[in-house]
């Protein structure tokens, strides 16, 4: 193999500074282009119905949506209560190998909301944007777990408004109901739902005004390494506080921490609330670390609750506070 003398090549006159300049220019273009891209998605045309969703995105529609794709059970709950079930054309589903729609919805939810005949949209590992577009929706509603970047693509590239619901607290659920009601021109129904939720929480509070607050572990999943529960500033912890109890993980700054069996053993909660559904029942939590040694287990103070009440932030969760309170204060029976 023979080579020309490389020192005669003009390539060697390219200085490293040139490369750095290219890098800076491309980085600046990237910032500018993506900022412009997302500014465009936030521009609301005149005369539109506008709301700000839970990701701070400006969502606008020119008319009440008639074809809605729903990507979470919590969003479905809101739409159903607003009387908009007939406007839903598709819901989220897990992969067929995970059970399809049963991976995301309980059989009771599928029956209640009559979802069997609706189209399925898979969202993990990636959201199936093309199937959504094929349904020609005029609103897509996603929630925690759905990739916001995919929702942004739907809004900006496909020109379909997309709404992201991800309330961190119970109060956030009230806001979600209101903005969905505004977008769909069902503000009156939304107001009624908010009033009902408020009355429900007030009723629980007044019933438990003289009750003592037990310590509790509320968990929605357990395995040999610990128990998944709720930390401070979460809707899960809000539920527990509203039900007049003290979570043993209320000081945990992680949103959804996994706490060890040893910690639970040391904290020795009076009661344990476990989420059931999606293949989990009360006995399944026996696989949890140190389960049989826990005082509440030995005392028989373990209660099951529909896991969707614990993990899906929607009006059902707010009304579910009553159920939680009844389990924790069986002698008082909040209505």
């Amino acid at each position: 193999m023979s080579f020309k003398d490389s020192t005669s090549s003009s390539v060697h006159t390219i200085p490293p500074a040139f490369v750095i300049v290219i890098v800076v220019i491309v980085a600046a273009l990237s910032v500018g282009a993506t900022a412009t891209y997302y500014q465009l998605k936030n521009q609301a045309p005149q005369g539109s119905i506008n709301v700000i969703d839970d990701a701070g995105r400006n969502v606008s529609v020119s008319a009440p949506p008639q074809r809605i794709v729903v990507l979470s059970p919590s969003a479905m709950d809101i739409l159903y209560r607003l009387g908009l079930r007939s406007h839903v054309v598709a819901t989220d589903c897990g992969l067929a190998s995970y059970g399809g729609r049963l991976a995301d919805y309980t059989p009771a939810q599928i029956r209640l909301w009559n979802l069997s005949d609706l189209a399925c949209i898979t969202w993990q590992p990636s959201l199936d944007i093309q199937s959504i577009v094929a349904l020609n929706p005029d609103l897509v509603v996603g929630a925690s777990g759905v990739n916001i970047a995919s929702l942004d693509t739907i809004s900006t590239a496909d020109h379909i408004p997309s709404l992201y619901l991800n309330p961190a607290t119970l109060v956030g659920i009230f806001y979600d109901v209101e903005i969905v009601g505004k977008l769909t021109q069902t503000a009156s129904q939304a107001s009624d739902i908010v009033t009902s939720m408020t009355q429900s929480l007030d009723s629980v509070e007044s019933s438990l005004i003289n009750a003592t607050a037990p310590t509790v572990l509320v968990t929605y999943y357990a395995d040999s390494s610990g128990y998944w529960t709720f930390g401070a500033g979460t809707f899960g912890n809000d539920m527990i506080v509203q039900a007049k109890a003290v979570s043993i993980s209320s000081n945990n700054t992680l949103g959804e921490p996994e706490i060890s069996g040893s910690y639970v053993l040391a904290a020795n909660p009076d009661d344990i609330i476990v989420g059931t559904g999606f293949g989990l029942n009360v006995s399944a939590y026996g696989a949890g670390q140190d389960w049989s040694s826990l005082g509440a287990v030995q005392a028989g103070h373990v209660y099951g609750i529909d896991v969707t009440i614990l993990t899906e932030p929607d009006p059902s969760m707010v009304f579910g506070v009553t159920t939680l309170a009844q389990l924790l204060h069986p002698n008082i029976s909040p209505s």
Binding site: M1, F3, K4, D5, S6, T7, S9, V11, H12, I14, P16, V19, I20, I22, V23, V26, A27, L29, S30, V31, A33, T34, A35, Y38, A55, R57, V89, A90, L95, A96, G100, A119, C120, T122, Q124, P125, S126, L127, D128, I129, Q130, S131, V133, A134, L135, N136, S144, G145, N147, I148, A149, S150, D152, T153, T156, A157, D158, H159, G255, E256
Partner: protein, 349 residues
């Protein structure tokens, strides 16, 4: 190379037919011509109506699916594949190591750390965390390459030194990524986990434009160093004796490679093995001359990644989309073992 080009063109022509929504070829051609002619196309751009789950799909929806979703995804896969393949070939030439790839210096860990850092962007006062993900990933990757280069300047910058520095930094960043994802809610951590696996879903024309520009510029610069890479294969001393400034060439190539890799992973996550196997495949077809090997690797890398993306979007069925990194790993890992086996047996790779 002509055969590779023809294969690539064939794949690019057929890929728009692949996806969760089956658009007939007649409609694909009609829609593409409709856009390319820049105006109203005579006749119906969508002559063959289709329906999905019992719902008739309008021509407007088919147009959006093809032009705004599927084509950007295909082109992004093409340009990322081309860029990673050229960088992989360059790295193998710079280090004279057939196992080198674009992520040699922990660049993938740097990009992943940048991406994981966006989990905390909202807490820093920026509302739209996804706006910053490509930028943070790019800066993380670029920063890692720069750190490795700077760290190696303080000691003898042999290839082994650079490699080991990259491994150390990659390991450190891996631990930081684990910490960051642990501190966030499981749904956010899951999103980052899937980003790590690589995906072109959600690609936009803006992203295609940015990646094309950066990859074209960076890859062109790398290809212009084909002669220098040939020299480096003779050994550092021989290359220096022939007039090549070995250290300067090496640093320049690493810097450019870091830039191209950073740009590639910023928008699609970590897609592995493309940069590793593409140069090896074309080397057996084209020979070891880097002046031809790098352009051929670009063609093969683009072809490979477009095919992998097509497979990722269709293999599960029912709308399920696999991360493309899963496909490239299933193909690349056995190939990697084959290379290793041949080296251990003392055969040329």
């Amino acid at each position: 190379m002509l055969i590779l080009l023809l294969c690539l063109l064939a794949v690019l022509a057929l890929s728009p037919l692949v996806g969760s929504v089956r658009i007939p070829p007649t409609d694909v051609i009609g829609i593409e011509l409709h856009h390319l002619t820049g105006g109203a196309f005579p006749g119906n751009p969508c002559p063959t109506p289709i329906s999905v789950a019992g719902n008739p799909v309008s021509c407007s929806s088919m147009d959006t699916i093809l032009w705004d979703n599927r084509l950007p995804e295909i082109l992004l896969a093409l340009f990322v594949g081309m860029g990673l393949a050229v960088v992989g070939g360059t790295m193998q030439g710079v280090f004279r190591n057939p196992l080198a790839d674009p992520y040699l210096f922990g660049i993938s860990s740097g990009a992943a750390l940048g991406a994981a850092a966006t989990l905390f962007v909202s807490q820093m006062g920026f509302q739209d965390a996804t706006l910053y993900l490509p930028l943070f990933a790019f800066l993380g990757a670029m920063g890692t390459g720069s750190i490795v280069l700077l760290a190696s300047r303080s000691i003898r910058s042999s290839p082994e030194t650079l490699l080991l520095t990259g491994v150390a930094i990659g390991t450190l960043f891996g631990g930081m990524i684990s910490l960051l994802t642990t501190l966030r809610a499981s749904s956010e951590a899951l999103f980052i986990t899937f980003w790590f696996l690589g995906s072109f879903t959600g690609a936009t024309w803006v992203q295609v434009g940015l990646v094309f520009g950066g990859v074209a510029a960076g890859s062109s610069l790398l290809m212009l160093h084909g002669r220098d890479l040939n020299l480096l294969q003779l050994g550092d001393e021989t290359a220096a004796g022939l007039g090549a400034d070995v250290k300067s060439i090496r640093r320049r190539l690493i810097l450019i490679s870091s830039f191209v890799t950073a740009l590639a992973v910023a928008f699609c996550g970590i897609v592995g093995f493309v940069g590793l196997i593409s140069p090896h495949v074309v080397r057996r077809l084209q020979g070891p001359d880097y002046r031809m090997l790098l352009p051929a690797a670009a063609l093969f890398g683009g072809l490979f990644l477009v095919l992998a993306d097509d497979l990722a979007g269709s293999i599960l069925g029912g709308g399920g989309i696999l991360p493309v990194g899963v496909i490239t790993a299933f193909v690349g890992a056995p190939f990697f073992l084959w290379i290793l086996n041949r080296r251990l047996r003392g055969r040329a790779v």
